[in-house]
Amino acid sequence: MPTTSTSTSTSVTSSSGSSRELMSRLASGDPEIKFKALREIKNQIIGNRTKKLYFLKLGAVPTVSGILYRAQVELPDDNIYSKNDSNRDIIIQSAAVLGSFACGFDAGVRAVIDASAFPQLVRLLGYRDDKVVDAGARSLKMIYQSNLAPKYDFLQEKNMEFLLSLLHSESENVTGLGASIITHSCQSIAEQKALCDAGVLEKLVGLLEGSLSQRDASLESLAMLFKDNPDVVLKFAGLENGRPLSSITELTKDRHPRTRLLACICLISIRNTSPCYLQDVGIKTRLVNLLLELLDTPDQVGDDASFAFSSLIAQKEDLQKLAFEANAVDKLFNLLQGEQLHSKRLQGLLLALGNLCSKLESCRSRFLSLQVLELVIDSLTNDNADIRSAACICLRNVSRSIKNLCAGYFMNEKIIIPLVQLLDDSSVSVQVAALGAVSNIMVDLATRKSTFIQCGGIKQLVQLSKSMESTVRSNALWALRNMMFLADDKCKEGIFLELSASEIASLICDPEPLVQEQALALVRNLVDGCVNSVEFVFAEDGVILDAVGRQVQSASKAEIGIQGMYLLSNIASGNEFHKEAVIEKLLPQVDKEADCFIINFLRSNDSRLRTAAVWAIVNLTFPSSPGAFGRLIKLRNAGIVSQIKSMVNDSCQDVKVGSFVTSSVVIIHFSPCWWRCMIILFEAASCENGAHTVNGLW
């Protein structure tokens, strides 16, 4: 961190002039005045965002950048031993001012980069004067803590050499800069590998033994090197018989909260990348407890702890259970109740709560019993988009419970009105997060979704189903599909009219597979229930059914085939007209087996697809329907009956049952003596090789 002035002169105080006056003094030809002005600005802006912003508006950054440039021209490295000490001091002070502007302040980083000060600071690293190098390194470190810093290309040999020279430096700030560059810029597997191959891993391990700042910088960089790269983790775990891994574990007990946090983040990165490590319940419990403790830290450590906690427990039921046992829900609730939480803290706490409630019903129950919901609802209308999004994610995960949905906890105006408003949010990520929550809440089977409909929710969802963003389209359809689940006729008709048959057909044929899948699932639910619902797919000259036929035939993934086959199966559970329409789609060219997609589905390795296909056949040959025999002949001619016959012993019980039902139907139709065949079927089924007996009937 840039420190407060170390100059022996203490006569310069903030009262020595206004900010404008200070700016004018920067233009002074007297190096002493210029130096003092720089130092004064630095002292005023350290830790003071308001002052930073004020000086930014006065154009301080380009001015200081210009001063640094001119001082460098007048004092190139070769002249380091010249008598021009004032220029040297100006260089150091200018670098410190620029670093201070960049420290924790993105607008400052942007200004420094825009003023072309970045390459000037890099040039300082080549000086032989340690203080100049240190000043440059310290400022660059500040810049590299921001996402706005330029990306460093490790894959260029020259750059890698330079980075290694930084890491090999004896200066704490220079090695820290090297580590910061890695933390900031190492993103791809190729970069991680290149860094490892160059020996960076060993160097960072060495820094773990260094000063506090070197340790922290090393921990941060190591976490980035481990991220999603099991090879790096494996190599690290094997270093020095696992001593570095033990060192990091030990650092979770360090007296400095930031070091403890960074050690936790490093261990989380290892575990998330290679779950075989850190399986011991002791270390898992320690990580949970440590992070919960660190949440109490008021500064950035406390903010970051909530995100680290989320990363630790996300998608891991065992860790969520440990967190629940450590009263994490209560803890997060208490923290959320704090006054004047700043944005990042609030966002982190909401996400942590959301992750905690993503799997365990016990966490959700505790959440609801503590009235946390009220606080989450308040955050839905926060000015900050990240907070609105986090609140939606939290709500989505808490509502991921059919028990709570059936209890009607979420379908009320306090939740629905702000959620519907968020569907129209200016941020796409907020829209998608809100759609996630809406999708779950729409499964509410008790209140028939009337609150949502009255708020104009259907119109909004239909509008979003036409979005240019495919994620928005698929999520909007997801919500409509859930809403359509066991919906009453009025609700179904409302959605259908709002969407229109032609729009549904075009969504079924959407270029994005996820959209296709959700559109098919929506129609599947639409035609379930009252048999009259099947008529929906015949509207507008059967445009929907035509689209389904085309899409199922060319299904690009199993999920599309599954939804499509259940949809056709539901239509085939209707009347004769409906069944005939389905068989036409299933057997477009009965004499060309290669084109008969249902055969492929019945032969699929995916048992879900086989099951869906079998149910369609069951419905087409349903015994009490008059045209069943004719359809059975068509199916037999297409080779489907023999395929079904071979599936009676399918490894999937569900397929087996469906095949058996179909088999028995076949027997009913083809045998002159219905009962005799049923008896044979039962006898066949009761003996071990019963299928052979059944097969013999064909």
Partner: protein, 251 residues
């Protein structure tokens, strides 16, 4: 919902007859059909999306389309007493199913209940006996292992499992290829009436579901109610000429 004693025997089963040999042996490996897309979804689908051989060694019950979300059943609960024969018409709808966690839930609607003005709807949660999440021994709700055995043996399909269940509650059984799914259904709350409706939901049901024909048989157990009230349900197709399946997906 508690009522009175039932004297009727279970009717003859019409469907596919499986012997113990069919399901006591280890099942052949199921297809790897677990969804793996991110973000992880909680799938409530009539398709058997939870069955996986990824965690071989555990014995998930077979996925069954007829026991999936949205499926409806209707039948009776016999609440006859020594004084009079009585049966309530009962409708059941499955609303949630998570085979991995041995969880099922839904609503049960009792019609023509004498002391109620309207049909009485309750929300229930089910424990699927999969020997991973739950065994045949209840271990709660005032049910002793003896109570459990006494009720389970009422189901003919249980007979071949009895000896092992007596030893360890069935923990070592492989039910993955069993054509029956054994469950306990516990009513949690009344949906449309208050707790003062005169009915009790203190007990729970021992339930046996047949994968082959979608029939459900059950016995209500509550130490303070008439024993062995029999629940008999059949899968309904709600006026359709075939079977239809809805689905939803929680995000």
């Amino acid at each position: 919902m508690g009522g009175n004693r039932c004297k009727k025997d279970r009717p003859a089963f019409v469907g596919i007859i499986f012997t113990a040999q069919h399901y006591q042996q280890r099942a052949p490996k199921q297809d790897l059909d677990r969804r793996s897309r991110m973000p992880v979804r909680v799938v409530e689908n009539s398709a058997p999306s939870h069955v996986s051989d990824a965690n071989s060694g555990h014995t998930s019950p077979p996925a069954c389309s007829l026991l999936s979300v949205g499926q409806a059943f209707s039948g009776t609960q016999n609440v006859s007493s020594l004084q009079k024969d009585e049966a309530w018409r009962v409708n059941v709808r499955i609303q949630g199913c998570d085979l991995d966690n041995g969880y099922l839930c839904g609503v049960m609607e009792a019609l023509n209940v004498p002391m109620a003005d309207t049909p009485v709807v309750t929300f229930w949660e089910g424990e699927i006996v999969d020997t991973k999440n739950y065994t045949f021994f209840t271990g709660k709700w005032e049910a002793t292992p003896e109570d459990d055995i006494r009720h389970w043996t009422k189901f003919p399909s249980f007979s071949s499992l009895l000896s092992q269940v007596k030893v360890d509650g069935g923990k070592s059984l492989d039910l993955s290829n069993c054509p029956y799914i054994f469950m306990r259904w516990k009513e949690r709350y009344f949906v449309n009436v208050g707790t003062d409706c005169g009915l009790t939901i203190a007990g729970f049901y021992y339930v046996c579901f047949s994968c082959s024909d979608g029939s459900i048989n059950g016995f209500y157990y509550d130490p303070n109610s008439s024993p062995f009230q029999k629940l008999e349900l059949k899968s309904t197709n709600e006026g359709r000429f075939g079977f239809s399946f809805s689905s939803y997906e929680l995000q």
